[in-house]
């Protein structure tokens, strides 16, 4: 009897143990819903799939847009104002820079764009160079925006696994971006010349739909944009890069079909939600002053009329807000954002860049006046409004004074005293103000780019903040010049941030001017 028991017991035990030991430890330790590299290599998705997060994060197509750009460039460029008293009324709009917001643009640029661009480089460079070239163009489009916000950035040294990830100075980053654009343009131009069919068709969610020629046009235009940005700090290089773009056989954006825009299949422009159901963003006082003053027909597409006051009503940025409800009834953002499109660059902007180049005596394939008026016409065409010629000839209308119906302390006289019409007799400075003001109107709603050009040129003049809670870091008259480095970098890459500080011309706060941001007149 005992033997039987024993055998049963040991048999049972061994059975259980065997059953247990049959399952060896999973050597992978992988999330079952994650993608393995084998899975992704099918259809070249290990390369192609990486473009989707890049397209969606240069300018976020999700509501993270609000803290990526909506409460930074969009308000600092004088495009929009918020009725909301975020953080008890002490926030970016009053120059109390909110780390918890301002890290969004940084994080999206690196985790959404740079990390994927690096993978594309590793997987495609030398093998499928067209993908590498396209990733470089998108990378520059994303990263110049970051460099233009922070100054020094991690760009050329990105990809190191060393403990310290060093920063480039903004100048080094710009030079690297020029080189990347040159490289991309060369690769793609060769493919165009060789008449290679595009392998980017299904992957490209921009309006270009994989067309290499359009991408080269965009890359040239982007190079022109960067060139103009550095005109005050390095005019010689600016001229070289700008003329190279315009002279390139493929050229720059010229038609409305060339507008660079992401058309994200799933999502409506996030501004629709932020302005609509969240009621967090409205027309700015500056937009009201300029568009209404000029009787600009584009205003109807840009904004909705106020639900409580006659006509359009904008919010001045940097004011005392007692309750959100005070200004929720001001003008919402209009039809321009009621679609799935996120515009990266308008054709009008390129004309205005060329107009400024011509004004500076560069070979821009046109006269300053001609290019200026072509820019206005292009923008009118893009926005589907007529009367560009009449508008461009108007030498009477001026921006109007601003009245805040809630609190008169925010009222202000108009700052911009220039008319629309080109004035050959006027100084370069005045004509530049006209060019930049029109570019500012045309580029709406990309406040990030408008904020950069505002800082470079000082145009259009923007109502200064009245409430300044920066604690003395940012001068109300000079306005905000940059964003301080983000918390995750200060704590996660302190050695890298230390390299950045030596490449910054002042303390790490919003009052320090960037490399290309040189005080003084433009000419």
């Amino acid at each position: 009897m005992k033997n039987i028991l024993l055998k049963t017991a040991f048999f049972g035990a061994s059975f259980l143990m065997l059953a247990a030991c049959k399952k060896t430890l999973d050597p992978k330790n992988e999330n079952p819903y994650g993608a393995s590299s084998e899975l992704l290599s099918q259809d070249f998705n290990n390369i192609k799939s990486l473009f989707s997060p890049m397209f969606n994060n240069v300018i976020s197509t999700a509501t993270s847009y609000q803290t990526q750009q909506g409460l930074q460039g969009d308000v600092w460029a004088g495009y929009m104002g918020t009725p909301t008293d975020f953080r008890g009324g002490s926030n970016n709009t009053t120059y109390d820079l909110v780390d918890g917001w301002n890290n969004t643009c940084w994080n999206l640029a690196y985790t959404g764009v740079m990390a994927n661009a690096l993978k594309i480089e590793q997987r495609a460079k030398g093998k499928y160079d067209q993908f590498y070239a396209l990733s470089l163009i998108i990378k520059v489009e994303a990263m110049h925006r970051i460099a233009d916000s922070f100054g020094p950035v991690v760009y050329s040294k990105y990809g190191t696994t060393a403990a310290i990830i060093p920063y480039d100075s903004q100048e080094e980053a710009y030079n690297a971006m020029f080189a990347d654009l040159d490289n991309a343009i060369t690769i793609l131009t060769n493919k165009i010349n060789a008449k290679e069919a595009s392998t980017f068709v299904g992957t490209d969610i921009t309006a270009y739909a994989g067309n290499y020629t359009k991408w080269v046009m965009f890359a040239n235009s982007l190079r022109l944009r960067l060139a103009m940005r550095i005109v005050k700090v390095n005019p010689a290089l600016a001229k070289t890069q700008a003329e190279k773009s315009v002279a390139h056989p493929v050229g720059v954006l010229v038609a409305n079909a060339d507008v660079c825009k992401v058309i994200s299949p799933n999502v409506t422009n996030p501004l629709s939600t932020i302005s609509g159901s969240w009621d967090d963003i409205r027309m700015s006082a500056d937009m009201e002053s300029i568009l209404v003053g000029y009787a600009d027909p584009r205003v109807a597409g840009y904004f909705l009329k106020s639900s409580a006051y006659p006509d359009y009503k904008g919010i001045r940025t940097g004011i005392q807000i007692n309750a959100k409800s005070d200004r929720v009834s001001f003008s919402k953002i209009g039809a321009v954002i009621e679609n799935k499109e996120t515009v990266w660059m308008t054709t009008a902007e390129v004309y205005f860049l060329r107009a400024e180049g011509a004004l500076r005596g560069w070979n821009m394939n046109g006269t300053a006046k001609g290019l200026y008026e072509a820019g206005i016409a292009s923008s009118f065409e893009q926005r589907g409004v007529s009367g560009a010629a009449t508008y461009a000839a108007d030498n009477v209308k001026l921006p109007k004074a601003y009245v805040d119906p809630v609190s008169a302390v925010n009222n202000a006289a108009a700052l911009n005293n220039v008319t629309i019409a080109w004035d050959a007799a006027a100084s370069n400075e005045v004509n530049l103000q006209k060019i930049i003001t029109q570019k500012w109107i045309a580029a709406f709603p990309d406040g990030q780019e408008a904020w950069s050009e505002y800082r470079r040129t000082g145009y259009p003049k923007i109502f200064p903040v009245i409430k300044n809670t920066s604690g003395g870091k940012i001068d109300s008259a000079t306005g905000i010049r940059r964003i301080n480095f983000v918390e995750s970098e200060r704590s996660g890459n302190p050695g890298g941030v230390a390299t950045a500080l030596t490449k910054l011309s002042g303390p790490d706060n919003g009052g320090t001017r960037l490399w290309w941001d040189v005080a003084g007149p433009n000419f």
Binding site: D26, W106, V267
Partner: protein, 1097 residues
């Protein structure tokens, strides 16, 4: 009386004492029918015995007087059956042999004779009803009313005498026919058994570490929907914070302080099988984004358990290796008893009312259409108390148990249902459990199987924070509005949309504030959690000293969460057409183990207990799908996933998928019942360590205990004294998947891995090394007892997940690596006294004291010496670990003051108040805790009460700061009545501020979620009457079929004897690690009263 202690065959045993390899035990097992090749040439009888013992591994036991030692045996060497051999020896020696259970009992040739005797206790008092049994025979009897017995037995037979509450004694019958057998009482704990790690029962006195025990009635006497809440105040070193989810919500349990940067909840073990206590989500934001998703422990039925053992230190939990770092709570389920059949019914009903509500002003209304109440004077009613209802929780359970010699069956069913103090909050819970044990082959082989099924549904589980919280709108409603009107008309018809939309004072609908009744009715949530556990196992007593056991358990926790947000909900929370969230998560655990246990006397003074085993644990946790209409619904109020505008919010995820394989061994060596050496070792192989240097880790422990009272003759009044010390290492596994980061895809867009190892870092488990010493004394016949422990632990290699610099080349959001250490040292003292002990009146007192000092010893410099467990976001609260500070520091802003305490004002139009940057405001950890437990019995009455106290620590109330800035708090009203806030202030240029400071300006600057939170820090010290019960045991001897019946009045959280904070600081908004020491519109604490009825047939 001439019985002798049974002499063991010690020579043989010494040989193999420490070898506990299985093969050894295989060879040691022989049957009586074994063939032997032996012979004796004029051998002394005792030498013959030795030879046979060596050959068979059987042992002889005998009474010296029975044996004529000069007797010699002669037998030729040849193969014989063992039985034949013994017969031949009998023929030459006049001795009888009987083989029973591995021993050969030797007796002189006697005939069965009548033996009489008496069984008494140590004081000589007779023990009526004691059982006497002849070992290996069917003869048995019991003592009569005077403790006397009579039975027939042969000399040499072994008589087993047992009586409940006394140590069973074996008596070898000799020539003596009249015996007095004295039984030693069990009650002085000398033989008391405690369930320890892996379900191994150990003699309590031999433990080298602290192990607290709670009896089953402690869990059910004054019940709580979550059984772990009933532990509060009863066990030193265990801090329980009730979660914010109300009845049925989770609780935060911390044993001996937080020892990890992440994850400090203990391991729960039911009948030896680890319970995977998966928690789905916990809040970690002021906004209330995370909810209390529930866990497995909160689903258990307290009636199913006999009691609880809490293993606090590393030495106690060392056998759990990489799962043991946070302490272990062992639950043992109720088992049927052989020979007993019973049906028990119990029912309780409890009513709950809100207590510790904030105070509100009733003197000022809001300006028309304003969100905040800073308008003109008015006479108002405080509508807040009326919002909270009386909650009722009813629970009833029925149990059946039946035991025969062969089978033990028990079945329990319980149902709990009720409603909370907020309208629409309902709970309904069903628990089923079934247990079956079959005993075969004279109890040698036991097979057991069991299962529990628990299902709980909670409607509108209370949430904390700003979003979807009806309390927020109730507190902040612009005053002057009619709350009752908005209750009756929480929705109104919108002609333009042809649907009902939310109705609440104009402009007061924000992301935070909504009509409370809209939230209750149109933002409804349902939590449906189901937990199943089934197990199967056997227990095989191979010999008296060797047992083999194995268990298999499967458990499954399913959590389904649904939330419907109607069109009309605040637009930040749900889009114009409404929103819908459906989450379905499943956690599965498979566990199997095999344990061989040995208990062997090695000679006269040495005893060895050893265990050797292996286990495998496979876990898949929080595996499931979440459908979230983040961008809204296509058609209004149609709550189905096909109606989502897009797929961007839909995700599939797995929290954990891992396997842990382990081998373990433990040995306790006892010397003369007063010195015990305890050694354990466990090696864990974990799948989460893939792609690291090694996938295994070893966890050792060593402990030593001396029973001083047995070792030395101590004065009479000391009944028990023990000193113990131990050292052990336990660990904590790293989270799954971290070592193998993969990309995921959401809404068609690839997401880079959320976390991956920091470059250069090789991940390894956390390791906690703990040193513990303790002592235990009892005096005056155990009337007074004290137990004290001191421990010092250091937890190294903390797993840290910190935001990776976004510039990292992998696109990780966070880096995971090991860094930093936490130290906890502390003292625990448990005192108990039987203050009064007479036949009619008993009064037992218990006092538990614990002090824990935590210290974050090291956080790497490259993290700036700090880790934010809860980031600030835009709020003036954050919760951080800071090097050189205790675990968990609350930080916020203060009003800037000069060195004599004047508030510094800006010289501007508003004379605005200057604020500091981030400053430390305090730690929520108590300095020490005290629990005072009283149990009184007088005749048929019994009563108990528990006073629970926490001393020291700080908490913050964002509820108060919101109420202040919205002008609804009493403070804001009083300030207006007084004409302003009386502050001592100067301007930044040094000129003094004169007059009262305008109340609105003051409170809107200092209050709100972004204000000077330092003004809203309170001392967390509180003392409360945690439990109270008064009951009566009915004496129903006249009704034969009723075994017992009782009724009691009970109360829980009755009142605070002392409290400074404006809310109950024992409630944690999150049972995770972050978000501690703060109240953000949390559910007020509840006081409950009830009636319990129990009846057993």
């Amino acid at each position: 009386m001439k019985t002798k202690p049974i002499k063991k065959g010690n020579k043989f045993l010494c040989k193999g004492a420490f070898i506990f390899l299985l093969c050894f035990f295989m060879s040691s097992m022989v049957s009586a029918g074994q063939i032997l090749n032996l012979g004796f040439n004029d051998s002394k009888i005792l030498d013959v015995f030795v030879k046979i013992e060596r050959a068979t591994k059987l042992k002889f036991i005998y009474n010296n007087e029975d044996i004529d030692k000069s007797k010699r045996i002669n037998l030729a060497v040849q193969q014989r059956d063992m039985v034949d051999l013994l017969w031949e020896i009998t023929a030459q020696s006049n001795l009888n042999f009987k083989v029973v259970d591995g021993i050969i009992a030797v007796s002189a040739q006697h005939l069965a004779e009548e033996i009489t005797g008496k069984v008494t206790d140590s004081k000589g008092l007779p023990l009526p009803g004691a059982t006497l049994k002849i070992k290996g025979a069917n003869t048995a009897t019991t003592t009569d009313a005077n403790g006397n017995f009579k039975l027939k037995a042969e000399a040499g037979a072994v008589l087993m005498v047992s009586f409940t509450g006394y140590v069973t004694q074996e008596v070898l019958l000799g020539a003596e026919h009249s015996l007095v057998i004295v039984l030693k009482e069990n009650s002085n704990t000398l033989q008391e058994l405690t369930i320890t790690a892996l379900g191994i029962k150990k003699v309590r006195k031999s433990l080298t570490y602290a192990a607290a025990e709670l009896k089953g009635d402690e869990l059910t006497n004054v019940r709580d929907a979550n059984l772990v809440n009933t532990v509060a105040g009863k066990v030193s070193g265990v801090v329980i914070n009730k979660g914010a989810g109300g009845s049925g919500g989770t609780s935060k349990v911390v044993i001996r302080g937080n020892s990890s940067f992440s994850g400090n909840q203990p391991l729960y073990v039911i009948d030896g099988v680890p319970l995977y206590n998966a928690t789905t989500t916990q809040a970690n934001s002021v906004f209330g984004g995370g909810r209390d998703g529930g866990d497995a422990v909160s689903l258990l039925n307290p009636d199913d358990y006999d009691g609880m053992t809490i293993l606090k230190g590393a030495a106690a939990t060392a056998l759990y290796g990489s799962q043991g770092a946070n302490g272990v709570i062992l639950l043992s389920s109720k088992k049927a008893k052989a020979g007993q059949k019973s049906i028990s019914l119990s029912s309780s009903i409890n009513v709950e009312t809100a207590s510790s509500l904030p105070q509100f002003q009733t003197n000022y209304g809001a300006v028309k259409d304003a969100e905040k109440s800073w308008g003109a004077a008015a006479t108002l009613e405080n509508h807040v108390p009326g919002f909270f209802k009386t909650g009722i929780i009813q629970s009833s359970s029925a149990g059946f148990s039946s035991g025969s010699e062969v089978a033990l069956t028990s079945f329990n069913y319980a149902n709990t249902n009720g409603r909370g103090i907020i309208e629409g909050n309902k709970i309904n819970k069903h628990n089923f459990s079934l247990k079956e044990t079959i005993k075969l082959f004279k109890d040698k082989f036991q097979v057991f199987a069991g299962g529990t099924y628990n299902t709980q549904r909670i409607n509108n589980k209370p949430v904390n924070g700003f979003y979807f919280n009806p309390i927020l709108g109730t507190y902040l409603m612009p005053r002057g509005n009619d709350f009752q009107y908005y209750k009756d008309n929480f929705e109104v018809f919108d002609v333009s949309r042809n649907l009902m939309v939310q109705n609440w004072p104009k402009n007061a609908i924000t992301d935070k504030e909504q009509n409370p009744y809209w939230i209750i009715n149109r933002n409804q949530t349902k939590d449906n959690n189901t937990f199943f556990e089934g197990n199967l196992g056997f227990n095989f007593k191979v010999t008296e000293w060797f047992t083999l056991a194995s268990r298999y358990s499967y458990s499954d926790l399913t959590s389904i969460y649904e939330k419907k947000m109607y069109a009309g909900t605040a637009p930040t929370l749900a889009r114009a057409n409404g929103g819908y969230v459906l989450q379905n998560l499943k956690s599965i655990q498979n566990y199997v183990d095999v344990i061989a246990s040995f208990n062997k006397q090695l000679g006269k003074d040495l005893n060895l207990t050893a265990n050797l085993g292996a286990s495998q644990l496979g876990i898949t946790a929080n595996n499931g799908t979440t459908f979230n209409a983040g961008n809204g619904l296509q058609y209004a109020n149609w709550f189905t996933i096909g109606n989502f505008i897009d797929n961007a919010g839909n995700t599939q995820s797995t929290g954990v998928k891992k396997m842990l394989q382990s081998v373990f061994a433990s040995a306790t060596l006892g010397y003369k019942n007063f010195l015990y050496l305890d050694l354990t070792g466990r090696n864990d192989w974990s799948s989460t360590l893939a792609n690291t240097d090694k996938n295994w880790f070893f966890y050792p422990s060593v402990g030593l205990t001396t029973i001083v009272s047995e070792m030395f003759k101590l004065p009479e009044f000391i009944s028990y004294g023990k000193i113990r010390g131990s050292f052990a290492q336990v660990g904590k596994d790293i989270p799954a998947f971290v070592t193998s980061p993969t990309s995921t895809v959401v809404g068609g867009i690839i997401q880079n891995p959320n976390v991956g190892p920091r470059p250069g870092a090789v991940l390894k488990p956390e390791i906690k090394s703990e040193f513990e010493i303790g002592t235990e004394w009892r005096f005056v016949n155990d009337r007074l007892g004290i137990e004290a422990s001191y421990y010092n632990s250091v937890s190294k290699n903390q797993y840290v997940e910190v935001p990776a610099p976004s510039t990292n080349p992998f696109g990780y959001v966070n880096y995971g690596f090991n860094a930093g250490s936490i130290q906890n040292k502390g003292l625990e003292i448990d005192l108990n006294a039987k203050a009064v002990k007479t036949e009619k009146f008993e009064w037992n007192l218990g006092l538990v004291f614990a002090k824990n000092i935590s210290l974050v010893k090291e956080i790497p410099a490259d993290l700036g010496g700090r880790i934010n467990l809860t980031g600030s976001g835009p709020n003036s609260y954050r919760f951080a670990l800071i090097q050189g500070r205790p675990f968990g520091i609350i930080e916020g802003y203060n009003i800037k003051r000069d060195n004599v305490g004047n508030i510094i004002l800006n010289k501007d139009a508003n004379s605005s108040i200057q604020k500091t940057g981030w400053e430390e405001l305090g730690t929520p950890n108590p300095n020490f805790t005290l629990g005072f437990n009283n149990k009184i019995k007088y005749a048929q009455f019994y009563a108990s009460f528990l006073i629970d106290g926490r001393f020291g620590g700080k908490v913050m109330s964002m509820t108060e700061s919101m109420n202040d800035s919205y002008g609804v708090s009493k403070a804001s009203g009083d300030a207006r009545l007084a004409g302003g806030v009386n502050i001592k202030a100067i301007y930044s240029d040094g000129t003094p501020y004169t007059g009262l400071y305008p109340a609105e300006s003051y409170y809107t600057q200092t209050g709100d979620r972004t204000g000077t939170s330092g003004e809203y820090i309170y001392d967390a010290t509180n003392i409360s009457l945690r439990e109270f019960s008064l009951g009566y045991n009915f004496n129903l001897k006249s009704i034969p079929f009723i075994k017992s019946a009782s009724a009691s009045l009970v109360g829980r959280n009755l009142f605070f004897i002392h409290k400074k904070a404006p809310f109950d600081p024992n409630i944690a908004l999150s049972t995770g690690d972050g978000f501690q020491g703060i109240d953000v519109m949390g559910l007020p604490t509840t006081r409950s009263f009830g009636i319990n009825l129990n009846i057993t047939f």
